[in-house]
Structures are given as C-alpha cells and as structure tokens.
C-alpha cells in the first residue's frame, strides 16, 4: 500500500505521528501531579483485577452460611463478607475484571466504529454524510441511559448484551466529533497538495486525515470512559449486565442493598471503587486534554 504514498505525502504524515509528539504528551502528562495520582490509582485497581487469583485470599463464589455479613475489619476477612458469606475483598478484586471490561471495551469499540464512520462521513461529504449524520441524529434523540436500558432491556441480561448496548450508545457522540474534525481538516491546503501529487482518497484518509483527526477524537473518547464505567455498573445494578454469582461492582451494590441497615459501610463498599475509577478517568481525561492542547 505504501507504494501509492507520494514522496510529498510521506513526510507530512510522519510529522504528525512521530513518536516525538506522543512522548512529549506523555512527559507533560507525567508532570501533572493529579494525572499521576489517577494513573497510580487506576494501575493499582487494574492490577488487582488482573492478578485477582493470586492476590485474593479466598474464592469469589464460595460463601459460608455461618459467616454472613461480617463487618469490615473481621480477622480473616479484611473487608468483611457479603450476604452469602463470601469474602468481600476477594469479590471486589475479581469484580474489577467484569466492571472494567464492561466500561472500557464499549468505548474502544465505539472509538473504532464511530471514528471510522465519522471520518468517512466528514471526508465524503454530500449524500454519504447526510445519511450517516441523520442516522446519528436519531440515536442522539435518546438520552444515553434510556437508549442503553432500552437495548439491554429488550435483549435481556448478560455481559455481551450490555457490551453491545453501551457500544451503540457511545458511537454517536464519537462519530460527531470525528465528523466535525474531518470536515475541518478536509478543507486544508495540505489535503489539496496530497491530491495534486496523485494520492487517492483512501491514502489521504488513511495517512493525512487519520493522523490529524485521531488526537481530538481519542481525547474525547477518554472523557467517555467515566460515563461508560458508571453506566455499565448501573445496568448491572438494575438487573441487566452481569448475572449472579458473577462478582461485579454494580451487581454487588444491588445484592448488598438489604444489608444497608445492618452493615451500611459494607453495603457502600463496591460503589467506592466505581466512584474511584470514574473520577480517575475523568481527571485523567482532563489532564490528557491539556497535555495535548499545549501544541
């Protein structure tokens, strides 16, 4: 494919995607104490989820009838036990696997699909643009939570159905950002120059448009991670998403609601992790935005 790239087109692309730029962004990000703190917290939670089998003191699905709802700080059960006598620390560690997956995978998929469709719509313009953008308007006419509940509710509970529902909900906003960024880039002189050197549409899209659009679209997508985490756990909380006995933070929050009166601290525990992850993603997205806008 690279044979179609003209000598003039190549350096233009190389300047935009050079590792120098991204390592500069990373350096700026690491100078911001808030972003570093968020990265550390997120890394700890992700590691906890990934290495749960080695870190967890017990089995996430095996409980004990005589050890139900032990308070936080019980010897042997550092964070207590849940309504079926299962170790909370174990379930919180394992719970991160499904919760983080359900929150991040839809954003990644929506970035891929929405980003591609948005670039095509912005670059093609005319009728193609109209069709894609009017379809997006329809999805935009739904409040995001409602659309997610509608799709997941009709499909039924299950992690796969939730992933699908959240991906569909997240595509329109990403698509709009990608489309408007592409429309702006398309009108610039260097696109004209690339065309004059004989680059075809696909090459221009892949090399020149992509490298200029991916930055803002990526930053925008990271700002959706927080919402996606809250929505994913929220769907499990209302009985969509993960099914018992799967350890998942939103589902744990729901099944522990009856314990709210006897063990309020225990019952609120899974939500602390959802909040921490969502807050860190939000602050990190802000940090990333300012780190990338400096240039």
């Amino acid at each position: 494919m690279s044979t179609t790239v003209s000598p003039i087109a190549l350096p233009a692309a190389a300047a935009a995607v050079t590792p120098g730029y991204w390592s500069q962004v990373l350096r700026r990000l690491l100078r911001d104490p808030v972003s570093v703190l968020c990265l550390v917290v997120l890394a700890a939670i992700v590691c906890g989820a990934v290495f749960a089998p080695w870190l967890a003191p017990g089995d996430p699905t095996v409980g004990s009838v005589i050890k139900r709802l032990k308070p936080v700080g019980t010897p042997g059960h550092l964070l207590g036990t849940d309504e079926l006598g299962r170790d909370m620390l174990t379930r919180l560690l394992y719970g991160g696997r499904v919760s983080l997956l359900m929150g991040t995978v839809p954003v990644a998929l929506a970035l891929l699909i929405g980003g591609a469709l948005g670039m095509v719509a912005g670059f093609a313009g005319g009728r193609v643009n109209a069709v894609i953008m009017r379809a997006t308007d329809v999805l935009f006419a739904f409040p995001s939570v409602l659309l997610a509940v509608a799709i997941a509710g009709a499909l039924g509970a299950g992690v796969g159905n939730t992933l699908l529902a959240l991906t569909i909900v997240l595509i329109p906003p990403i698509l709009r950002v990608a489309e408007s960024a592409t429309t702006q880039v398309r009108a610039l002189d260097f696109i004209e120059a690339a065309r004059a050197t004989g680059a075809d549409d696909f090459t221009i899209l892949r090399v020149h448009v992509f490298s200029n659009v991916i930055g803002p679209v990526f930053v925008y997508a990271t700002s959706l991670l927080s919402v996606a985490i809250i929505m994913a756990a929220g769907l499990s909380f209302i009985g969509l998403g993960a099914k018992p006995p799967t350890p998942e933070w939103g589902l744990m929050l729901n099944t522990l609601r009856n314990a709210l009166y006897s063990q309020p601290l225990l019952a609120a525990l899974p939500g602390v992790l959802i909040f921490a992850v969502s807050l860190c993603f939000n602050l990190l997205a802000d940090g990333l935005r300012s780190a990338m806008e400096v240039r």
Partner: protein
C-alpha cells in the same frame, strides 16, 4: 423568527418518527418471536388470536408499525404482561412522580451549579476556582445510584432523619412536610450531575464574558460590581437555562437508577419492573414516552432560546 420555528419543527418530525420506529423494533430485538414477547406465557388461544389481529402480526412489518403507531397516537400502548393493565395508564400514574422529582432535582442542581459556577468564574485561575472545579468533576463522576445509597446510610440509617423509600402516604400532589420529606434524598441524589454540569458551563461562561470588551467598557464607565453583574447575568442566562432544560430530560430518563434505589414510584421504577418481569410492552411504552418527552423538551428549549436571546434571533 417564524421561519426558524418552522425549520426546527421540520427537523423534529422525522426524528420523532424515527425514534418511534426504533421503539417499535424493540419487540423484534427481544429474543424469541414477537408474539411471545408481548403476551404472557399462559395466554389463552383466544387472546393470542385477538392480539394477532389487533397488531396485524401476520402482516408485513411496515404495516405492523403503522398500526402500532396509530394505536400509540390514540394513547393505546398495549397491555402489561405481568399484571394485564394498560401500559398507558401505568405510565400516566408514574410520570407525575418522575416529573416532580426531575423538576426539583433540576432546580436544585441549577441553583447550586449557577452559584458555584459564578464564584468559580469570578475567581478564575485561583485556588478557589480549582477547588470548586474539582468538586464539580466529583459531582459528574459520582455513580448517582451509589450516592443515593450513601445518603440513605447516613440520613436514614445513622441519623434516622429522613425516610429511605417510597413517596409517602397520600397521592403525589399532597403538600405536607411529611410528604415532602420523602422527596429530599432522591432529589438531592439526582441533582449532583446537573449541579456539576451547570457549574462547569457557568464557570466557563462567566470567565469568558468577564474578558469581553463590553465588560471592560462598563467598568471604564465607572459602573459598580452589581451593575456589571446584571449585564453579565443577562448574557449567560439563556445558555445556562438551555443547559438545565436539556438536563431535565436526562434526569427523567436517568432517574431509573435513583428511583430503583429509593423505590420511588415513577417511570424509572416501571422500567425496572419491566426488566425484572421481562415485560416488553411495558418497557417499550415507557421508553417511547420518555424518548418523546426528551425530543419535545429539546424542541421547546430550542424554540424558547431566541425569545430570551436576541443573538440567536439575528443569526
């Protein structure tokens, strides 16, 4: 002006139709055949035939959609599978409760967000600004269903000050302290997100407007803080109100999680019941009404904006 209204209306009608088509297709999204999705499993042969004829389920899908839409426009959204009652009546009973909660939460969120946003905007770049902005980020990052649980743990379980569940005795429109006390926790919970969003936009608006030339002009003319603020408020009010107007729609839809926490008998609880019972007609009807409410609300906000903001009128 009139042309602007017409243009908005022409834009909204196809959207509303497409939204209804999407809601219609939910029945087909559900696993199994659509008949089993809209009928209880113990329905008699007679009922099955009746529903088949009513909805034209033996006819092509576009025809089915037109029949369904016609019925929906006449206020017939089918029957709930779990209790056999008309879906439209169920929604009619619930929507007042949700609206009351959403309006209170939006007012609360707007007041809090606007106050904090003005302070942060005036103090742009200072430690106070950074502190308030962090609080606002926390407000939009908090899983509101969890915030509700925490508030119940503190104010109902520990302090025993406020009721944790339901909407209290009497109908939804009884005004007494006892009745009102049931509203407080769900409304405060629901207001966290609009407060954060309004705060962030008001902060940006105030900071930007303070830098504009007309403010410099006012100050140069020797006007006091109060007069300058009056001009400032007139400039940012339309945008801030539009933000909170759209938020009202998000609150109506997003309250499903908060209504579940507080067992608040609104549309969110209906949706929750529909999910638990796999009651597709109830799910479909409630989603349709809430989505149409959102479309209509956006239209109203768009139509009202030029009345308050002459800049839109001229553009």
């Amino acid at each position: 002006m009139f042309a602007y209204f017409l243009k908005r209306l022409a834009f909204v009608l196809p959207i509303a139709l497409a939204v209804s088509a999407l809601c219609f297709s939910l029945v087909y999204l559900a696993p199994g055949d659509p008949l089993s999705a809209v009928l209880p499993s113990d329905a008699s042969q007679e009922t099955i035939e009746q529903v088949k004829a009513d909805y034209g389920l033996d006819r092509p899908i576009p025809v089915q959609y037109v029949i369904w839409l016609g019925k929906a426009l006449q206020g017939d959204l089918g029957k709930s599978i779990s209790n056999g009652r008309a879906v439209a009546a169920e929604i009619g009973n619930a929507i007042g409760n949700s609206l009351m909660l959403a309006v209170l939460a939006a007012s609360l969120g707007f007041t809090l967000g606007a106050l904090l946003g003005i302070v942060a905007g005036y103090a742009h770049g200072s430690w106070l600004d950074r502190l308030l902005s962090t609080v606002a980020i926390a407000g939009v990052s908090v899983p509101h269903y969890w915030l509700g649980i925490v508030l119940v743990a503190v104010f109902s379980v520990k302090l025993n000050m406020l009721p944790a569940m339901g909407n209290g005795p009497g109908g939804p429109w009884v005004w007494s302290w006892e009745h009102f006390s049931y509203l407080i926790l769900p409304a405060v919970t629901l207001s966290a997100i609009p407060a954060g969003i309004v705060m962030r936009s008001v902060r940006a608006l105030v900071a930007d407007t303070l830098k504009s030339e007309f403010v410099t002009g006012l100050v140069a003319k020797g006007m006091g803080h109060a007069t300058v603020f009056r001009h400032l408020a007139r400039n940012i009010a339309p945008t801030a109100l539009a933000v909170v107007g759209v938020q009202l729609g998000y609150l109506m839809a997003g309250s499903i999680l908060v209504e579940t926490v507080f067992a608040w008998p609104g549309t969110g609880l209906l949706l929750n019941n529909a999910i638990q019972q796999r009651d597709i007609p109830l799910l479909q009807g409630t989603i349709l009404v809430l989505a149409m409410f959102f479309v209509l609300l956006n239209l109203i906000v768009d139509m009202l904006q030029p009345l308050f903001d002459p800049r839109i009128r001229r553009s």
